[in-house]
């Protein structure tokens, strides 16, 4: 007998061991997220996938699905919270969308569109961050980093390299490169690495392919992030079960 829980009143079937987010995505219900990737261990740091269960907030990427539980997801309060969290990500970094080669393919930007974000609301911090363009093929722009640790996990779990780490704490934390000089050119990074491919923003990009697609033909010019992520998740499930 299959188990199910309720997502905004709709019954969602789940398999033993699935999280709320995995079960929702399997059933075709997108829950916004930035640090979660189906191929990586969940990290629960971006807080965008927060849902309310029994009156308490939980990150749905780590919360196990349980029989009969009532999950609130698409409420006005949670939508406003997600928008505010995304606005904070924007003002804590330097996200110059008009000049960014990732624009139109950026998941941070696409999530902001999905959440109806039209302004950044909060005062901009304009932090001064060091860029690392030392590598001939890969660029690291810390202005665009949201410290979601996707590259940190992907490098360890998928590439078997351990190129990245987060250094420092709180607002002062930054992405560090594990190499003798601290520079990307002396690390084992390569443009084919999943750490580069999975970066949800333009923090890690491959050089010489920027602006490959003109405005109007980029990924998120064609479809919303919800459509893309649900399709990718379904494809992944079809392959890996």
């Amino acid at each position: 007998m299959s188990s199910s829980f309720f997502l905004d009143g709709k019954a969602i079937p789940f398999k033993e061991g699935q999280t709320v987010l995995q079960a929702a995505m399997s059933a075709g219900h997108y829950i916004p997220h930035l640090c979660w990737r189906p191929e990586l261990e969940p990290h629960s740091s971006c807080r965008l996938c927060t849902v309310i269960i029994s009156g308490k907030p939980f990150s749905s990427c780590t919360q196990p699905a349980m029989e009969g539980q009532n999950v609130e997801c698409d409420t006005p309060e949670l939508k406003a919270m997600r928008r505010a969290v995304t606005q904070l990500l924007f003002v804590e970094g330097n996200h110059y969308c008009p000049s960014c080669e990732e624009s139109g393919g950026c998941k941070l930007q696409a999530t902001a569109y999905y959440l109806g974000m039209q302004d950044n609301h909060f005062p901009h911090q304009f932090p001064v961050r060091v860029r690392d363009s030392s590598h001939p093929l890969v660029n690291l722009d810390r202005d665009r980093c949201i410290r979601c640790e996707t590259c940190v996990r992907a490098s360890r779990e998928l590439d078997g390299k351990n190129v990245f780490a987060i250094h420092g704490r709180g607002i002062r934390s930054k992405l560090a490169v594990n190499s003798p000089t601290g520079l990307l050119k002396d690390s084992g990074i390569s443009p084919e690495d999943m750490a580069v491919k999975l970066c949800p923003t333009g923090a890690l990009t491959v050089k010489r392919v920027g602006f490959e697609f003109p405005i109007g033909q980029r990924i998120f010019d064609q479809e919303s992030i919800a459509t893309l992520e649900l399709r990718e998740y379904a494809n992944q499930e079809a392959v890996h079960g």
């Binding site: 924007f90 330097n94 996200h95 110059y96 969308c97 008009p98 000049s99 960014c100 624009s103 139109g104 930007q109 902001a112 569109y113 999905y114 109806g116 974000m117 039209q118 302004d119 950044n120 609301h121 005062p123 901009h124 304009f126 001064v128 961050r129 202005d143 405005i215 919303s224």
Partner: protein, 180 residues
């Protein structure tokens, strides 16, 4: 005929791209002019807002003392004030100088720059004082609405103005929200 909506516009630290996009509504500009009347705007070259207006559209962020002066004039004279485009909303491309000190920027442009003669930083008192950082409009005054885009498309302008004039919430549908 219903009274026309009085609109003032200006460009602060912007590139006039947002104004060009507004003009990009093409022949629909004639329909727009049926319901909208421009006060101060680079489109008609009126230099100051002559009377309180319904709507102020500001493109560009704030980079110097004159920008602040103009922004305060708009806030005082406009019932509804809208930050238009990435620069007005986030500081945009001009705010890329915020990673450097003002001294570094001025020296790069006027002292160390290629081909400079009689190299010195301009200090004519008529030149508005530059601020240490380029700031978005909402850092200085209250902004009522934000119309994102670099520039916002002509469709986004039309949608926004039409909804606002109809007394509805002018929030853009997802497909019209762009930050580039």
């Amino acid at each position: 005929m219903a009274e026309k909506l009085k609109v003032a516009t200006c460009s602060l630290a912007g590139c006039f791209g947002c104004h060009m996009s507004l003009l990009d509504v093409d022949e629909r500009l004639l329909e727009l002019l049926e319901i909208v009347e421009f006060d101060r705007s680079p489109i008609n070259d009126i230099k100051h807002i002559s009377q309180p207006v319904d709507l102020g559209l500001i493109e560009g962020g704030v980079c110097n003392a004159e920008n602040i002066h103009v922004l305060h004039e708009f806030r005082k004279m406009c019932k509804i004030l809208v930050a238009v485009g990435e620069c007005g909303i986030t500081g945009g491309i001009p705010s890329m100088r915020n990673s450097f000190t003002l001294k570094e920027c001025l020296e790069e442009a006027f002292v160390r720059g290629a081909g400079t003669e009689n190299a010195h930083i301009p200090d004519d008192p008529e030149i508005p004082l530059l601020l240490d950082k380029v700031r978005p409009l909402h850092h200085i005054v209250k902004i009522d609405y934000f119309l994102p885009g670099c520039p916002p498309s002509a469709e986004a302008f039309l949608y926004f103005l039409t909804e606002l004039m109809a007394g509805r919430d002018p929030s853009l549908p997802q497909e019209l929200i762009h930050f580039d």
